[in-house]
């Protein structure tokens, strides 16, 4: 009974806080990241707090349908291949509302993950609450987290690299450079970047 009551109170608070509040811009570099728990394409729940032994997590807001997501698909898989073993696994989160973007439904997510052979979670942010909390704006949108004590803190926000159309012509690998800096214990050169991309398909208010 108590649990139900606290749940209702929490839900009411969320409604009240989000109703009149100005649009929050989300996390900035250095911010502590709240734990989240979302459903993976394999049906199991995945939480950030599951990554107890990781040095960091490469959180990527990504989807099936955006041409930029398609352009970066192989590069995202390569990031996980290279950095999961070094303690920085990829966690992909799909933020789009499938009623607006049917190609991003949970079923379609499952199909894509299977077809591509994703060896990292591809989570569905059905309520879009996690995407709002992070302040994700487009896909793919990276939030590189690093472990500090028991917490995850945002270390880098932005694009994977500086050339969407041609992986072989990339001159700045932002995410890789940031991970290398964390691993080396040095300061991250570029902490925030912008890129052209697909806007997140938010639910109609």
């Amino acid at each position: 009974m108590n649990m139900i009551r606290s749940f209702i109170t929490a839900a009411a608070c969320v409604v009240l806080l989000t109703a009149g509040a100005p649009v929050k811009s989300g996390y900035d570099v250095g911010d502590k990241v709240a734990d989240f728990k979302l459903k993976n394409v394999d049906g199991k729940m995945v939480a950030l707090s599951d990554y107890k032994n990781a040095k960091g997590v490469i959180v990527i807001f990504d989807c099936n349908t955006c041409p930029y997501s398609k352009a970066y698909n192989e590069r995202i898989m390569a990031l996980n291949k290279k950095y999961a073993a070094q303690g920085f696994p990829v966690v992909a989160i799909q933020p789009n509302d499938p009623t607006i973007s049917p190609g991003d439904s949970f079923d379609e997510m499952k199909k894509l993950a299977e077809k591509k052979g994703y060896d990292f979670p591809y989570l569905f942010d059905e309520t879009q609450a996690v995407s709002r909390t992070f302040g994700a704006t487009n896909t793919p949108h990276v939030f590189l987290l690093k472990k500090e004590g028991a917490d995850f803190k945002v270390a880098y926000i932005g694009a994977i690299d500086d050339n969407a159309k041609d992986a072989s012509a990339v001159s700045k690998k932002y995410v890789e450079e940031a991970i290398e800096a964390i691993t080396a214990g040095s300061a991250i050169g570029t902490e925030k970047t912008k890129a052209i991309g697909c806007t997140i398909k938010w639910k109609n208010a």
């Binding site: 930029y68 352009a71 973007s101 912008k194 052209i196 806007t199």
Partner: protein, 157 residues
């Protein structure tokens, strides 16, 4: 004879009077945005692959036709993803676009996005409305719906 037939077919397939979108660099875009003008500038950033952009384009077309005090410019971001502008040309011809279309050809989005608009994440559609007489400027990063453009324009007057 066969040659002649295919030649005629080819000529017929060429779009008759569709505009040829200019490919521009960032300084040209900045100059266009900064220039003093009597009209209100409505600058929309879009791409042929962007579904919400394509959906809202008729609103910009209608606005440009209805209001002589407004000039619409549709800035295609297609070259960021695909080096071939052909898709944009075909889109203009197919949709018979009347608004001016330019295609931005730039490298290093992390640098040029801020030079266009500091509060822009880079996601499209995005629209800037500039009134150089009042010095007022509005920026929105979302798909616009019926009536919203007019409201934004009234806010810069």
């Amino acid at each position: 004879m066969k040659y002649l037939a295919s030649l005629i077919l080819c000529l017929w397939l060429l779009p008759a009077s569709a505009q040829q979108a200019k490919i521009i660099k960032l300084p040209q875009l900045q100059e266009m945005m900064a220039q003093k003008a009597d009209h209100i500038k409505v600058i929309n950033f879009w791409a042929t692959w962007c579904a919400p952009c394509v959906k809202e384009i008729p609103l910009f077309e209608k606005l440009g036709q209805e209001r002589s005090d407004v000039k619409v410019t549709l800035v295609s971001m297609d070259l960021d993803l695909d080096p071939n502008p052909e898709k944009v040309y075909r889109f203009i011809a197919r949709k018979k676009l009347l608004s001016e279309v330019v295609i931005l050809d730039e490298k290093d989005p992390n640098s040029y996005i801020n030079q266009i608009e500091k509060s822009w994440s880079g996601a499209i559609p995005a629209t800037i409305i500039i009134n150089s007489r009042t010095g007022k400027r509005k920026f929105v990063e979302k798909e616009l719906h019926e009536g919203e453009l007019e409201k934004l324009i009234s806010e810069v007057e």
